[in-house]
Amino acid sequence: MAARERPHTDEAIVPNEAERHAARRRAEKLQIVAFFGIMALVPFGIGNDYYLHILIYIGLHLILATGLNLLMGYAGQVSLGHAAFYGIGAYASGILTATYGWNPWLAMLAALLLTCVVAWLVGKPTLRLRGHYLAMATLGVGIIVAVVIRQWTDLTGGSAGLTGIPSMTFFGHELTSDQDLQYYYFVWAWAAALTVLFANLVASRPGRALRALHDSELAAQVLGVDTAGFKVRAFVISAAYASIAGTLYAHSSMRFLSPTPFGFHTSIALLVMVVLGGQGTLWGPVLGAFTITLIEETLRPYADYDIIVYGLLLMVLMIVMPGGVSRALGSLIDLVRGWVPALRGGDEP
């Protein structure tokens, strides 16, 4: 094509964008190592089991929000019933281990497969259509799963709950209930691994294909992107993340499951986590997981009202910073960066 011989005096000084692109990826890896490194040290700073307990929930929410972020921030689709996949993961694991005596890891795998099959069955027909049919379908799935958990009492224990879930084992070692610290590391190791997988995925061919179809399905298709196929896969993966979080929940210190955490309320909370932090960013959902879990804990005495808080948060966010907190922070930093040289320039004669 044209203009190979264009004047190009600054080529040596200006770093190549390809190098900058690669450098951003390296910086991201460093951030991941630093963040999870800090999280590994946190337990030494707190002597309180209650805080550890909350941090375990934050880890679970981080996994859930990161998975949902793949769907919302990259594939551009919304799930209004993500708690259902969380619930399938939790109850399938719980039932297979407590009632049928399965090995927890085997049960985890079975729960994961079951969740993926359900997600695929929901996603396959709805994601071929253009528009937000998935949101409707997942809303339905959320309701159905919640009803099944409550009503099929022989299997799930219903409102009374499912008890007798054994501990998770790790290379023959039991992660027992009086050792929250071990479980903390177990959950956060999962969170770290799943974050790395997520970061790799979005910064690659399939991740770019998702972002592309989010922008323009038509343009993505003429470049050979199977848009429907990629959306289905993103949805299944986001459900798989929820399923893993569910299994981890089932084996956490209470080792007891009740229907409450797997209802519409949680689906909305997850949505707020993703939107609050900033969908389509690596750290947005992490920020969201921390914030919403802490709000949830603070509002625990008024548990029935926190959905109102989420609703308000969602509204305000959409109006004030539709890109989420991390993007808003990013543009603030850019603004300051722009200001600093300007100020410095102003000081000089």
């Binding site: 964008e17 390809a18 692109h21 690659s204 061919r205 038509l218 343009a219 050979g224 993103a234």
Partner: protein, 258 residues
């Protein structure tokens, strides 16, 4: 004469009561620049949409290297080696120019969600390689300076050039361009004409829809004229220029030059 690369037969499409494309047939030979012209609403973009699977044809066939395209989904048609640019250029506005071109490499990549997430089976190497080749593609197009810019902030002339570079990154055998010079100034139009000829010279066959008559006349090997969804005339520029039916279809249209 070169071999026929693309053969379209009896293509028709009706929107409600409006017959936008009526029984249109034509051939594109390998290595040609073939132009599709006609007044506004003649059905040119609709034909592109039918041929790329964006719209379903009522009837007709389109054989590309002996393979039937009609009925295939858009991404499968792309995979056979057909690229396309749009009348209003469709860039991925949330991405940088470099990333846009990297999406252009999609068809040549192999990384799946699994291998990419685990960085196995060469997924990491592939990523580095595409970053580099995308940069080279931009460099060859004279767009290297734009690589880090957000696609959303580019002026129309650069948007069109980036869209072409992105389409070429997929290494198509046939490139369909819908009004690549629309909105460009004279200098940019000349540059686009040069680019299209270079694309052809590099071995890519070009099917172009364009309103700029001087551009069409200067670069096309063959021109098909459409009017109200029908084939009006077909031939080399020298014939089309003097065709009375074409002149009357364009009466009042061509006065302003583009």
């Amino acid at each position: 004469m070169n071999e026929v690369l693309f053969r379209v037969n009896g293509l028709s499409k009706t929107f409600g009561g409006l017959q936008a494309v009526r029984n249109v047939g034509f051939e594109v030979r390998e290595g040609q620049i073939k132009a599709l012209i006609g007044p506004n609403g003649a059905g040119k973009t609709t034909i592109f949409n039918l041929l790329t699977g964006v719209l379903a044809a009522d009837s007709g066939s389109a054989e590309f290297e002996g393979r039937e395209l009609i009925g295939l989904p858009t991404h499968r048609i792309a995979a056979l080696g057909i690229g396309r640019t749009f009348q209003t250029s469709l860039l991925f506005d949330q991405m940088t120019v470099l990333e846009n071109v990297m999406v252009g490499h999609h068809l040549r990549g192999r990384a799946t969600m699994l291998t990419a997430a685990l960085r196995i089976l060469g997924a990491g190497r592939e990523e580095n390689e595409y970053r580099r080749t995308a940069m080279e593609t931009l460099d060859r197009a004279g767009l290297a300076d734009l690589a880090g810019r957000s696609a959303a902030e580019l002026p129309i002339g650069q948007r069109r050039m980036v869209e072409v570079a992105r389409a070429l990154a997929a290494e198509p055998r046939l490139l369909m361009m819908d009004e690549p010079a629309a909105g460009l100034n004279m200098r940019e139009t000349e540059q686009m004409a040069e680019t299209i000829q270079q694309i052809r010279d590099s071995g890519v066959t070009v099917l172009i829809v364009e309103h700029d008559m001087s551009l069409v006349m200067s670069i096309s090997d063959e021109i098909l004229v459409l009017d109200q969804g029908q084939r009006l005339a077909e031939g080399p520029p020298s014939e089309i220029r003097n065709d009375r039916r074409v002149l009357s279809a364009y009466l009042g249209e061509e006065a302003d030059g583009c």
